[in-house]
Assembly symmetry: C2
Homo-oligomer: 310 residues x 2
């Protein structure tokens, strides 16, 4: 059983109540507490030493990343983050000063996005630093964008450039909050998620949830310089395309809109966010699975996203 | 720097925003999102193998405890829990079936209290099982009960019996949600907290937050059978009174009301909750510190609650 299979089994059995609009399985849960104009978004995520950062990663960057991952999930629903609580598991001999730096990195990013940090639990964790952040946000009632609402014929877009995030971007990425809210306010976005498990993996989450397939255009996939440099001159490393498809932690937005909105969207985006690339990388198709089209034709895509838990 | 000193330093520097009514430092944060009749409560807590449970603790009980600790914090504010998200760090070779049992124990308790589990993150944690739960709840606007509002002259009450929780109760305790809401609805409770760090430690949290002191009556402190049995015939073990004062994880309610309400409260409680003891254990005094009164007089209390992080 891998991470996704286990989560699928667990998700089926979770208790609900009348507040739940969308439970586990999307980027955030969506909750209704009776506010006339707003729904709530609720998410937890964790970073662990040796998995999401290294022993020598600067503690400010660890704290920043722990919050940024959750912010990216709020962005994926086109929401606005509001308040976070933090659990830190500390290994023996971990310096209190380093804990303050972890919080410093987190607080800096929180302030930038107007997020309050309203609670913290500190406990022991024998072998490694473990940080779990839970984030509460809001979204206009009915304005949340799910993974499950992609439609056959949709154009597929991705922000930024993909692959090679482990070279540094995984610690410094900017959660696409403003971009996601602008998208939701200005275009009927059908489905959206953030890229945490790699394009191929996260696209499959949208496809599975929406009951559709996709065709990607090889030449349109925006490959990052880090992915190209890592692949260059090294025949034993994965190709830059594979990195762009399968590397985790890009934290870009992956979204679909009706094909008729695609050109308008690209034009408006260039004016609004001239420094951030937006690429149309393919289309949603009826059926299931992902194919990749290049100059030689169409073939099934076998590259999967990163499966964290094996 | 111990856990409390570190948390005090961190808490001062945390970013806020306009939603924050009460930030870090009480049992839960209190947030205002503009609902006319309700405020939100937000809390995170964690359980870690080797600290809060043993390697051979049944996984259902681990999951139950992870949620129950957060429920107890919602109870301490007189709130109603609504939705939880869960982060699980799994050691290598941890069985997916055991994860399902962890969730099973958590889900059973969640259903009992009407709590939805709306999200889960599963990650690796090399050496031990680590579970962090974040819980969102609500409380009537202005009805939240803080630690910081005890007044000199108040009578101090505690529910249940104290000490020796590690013999079993720490896995099976019932969060005092119904009792806390009944208290808040029927009496002007001045201050309340739940007992997680031991009576002496948690009372000091109320005293520090409220700027007052306390005198405890030695004979009135309700000592559990588990604490008495653990102390019996073993001169090297701590006394049952020390266990009742200093053992963690009782998860009972500690509260103060005006002295004039004390008898009325005891009478009404006996009718409403005949199976659960409520004890008046002393009074809030001006000044600072805790004293213990017994037949020989009054002396300063030096027994501190359990400090998790040293």
């Amino acid at each position: 059983m891998n991470e996704f299979e286990l989560i699928a089994r667990l998700t089926k059995a979770l208790p609900g109540n009348q507040t739940v609009v969308t439970g586990a399985g999307d980027d955030c849960a969506v909750l209704d507490f009776g506010l006339p104009d707003k729904l709530f978004l609720f998410k937890t995520d964790a970073v662990v030493e040796g998995v999401h950062f290294k022993k020598n990663t600067p503690p400010e960057k660890i704290g920043r990343k722990a919050l940024a991952r959750c912010l990216s999930d709020i962005a994926a629903m086109a929401g606005t983050p509001a308040a976070a609580v933090v659990t830190i598991g500390l290994p023996e001999h971990f310096q209190p000063e380093a804990v303050e730096k972890v919080y410093g990195g987190m607080s800096g990013l929180a302030k930038k996005h107007g997020v309050a940090i309203v609670g913290g639990e500190t406990t022991a964790n024998p072998e490694c630093l473990f940080i779990s952040v839970a984030l509460l946000g809001t979204v206009g009632r009915g304005k949340q964008i799910l993974r499950s609402t992609a439609k056959a014929g949709d154009a597929i877009f991705v922000t930024g450039e993909l692959g090679g995030s482990s070279a540094g971007k995984h610690l410094d990425f900017e959660p696409r909050l403003a971009e996601a809210r602008w998208l939701a306010e200005n275009f009927p976005v059908h489905a959206m998620t953030d890229l945490s498990d790699g394009l191929a993996g996260d696209l499959r989450h949208i496809l599975a949830a929406s009951g559709v397939g996709a065709e990607l255009l090889k030449a349109a996939i925006p490959i990052s310089r880090a992915a190209r440099e890592s692949a260059r001159g090294n025949p034993f490393r994965k190709t830059a395309l594979t990195a762009a498809l399968a590397d985790g932690e890009d934290f870009e937005l992956l979204l679909t809109v009706a094909a008729g909105d695609a050109v308008k969207l690209l034009d408006a985006w260039k004016k609004k966010f001239p420094k951030l690339r937006l690429s149309c990388i393919g289309k949603i198709s009826p059926g299931t699975g992902v194919t990749l089209r290049d100059k030689d034709g169409v073939r099934p895509l076998t590259v999967h996203g990163y499966v964290h838990f094996a």
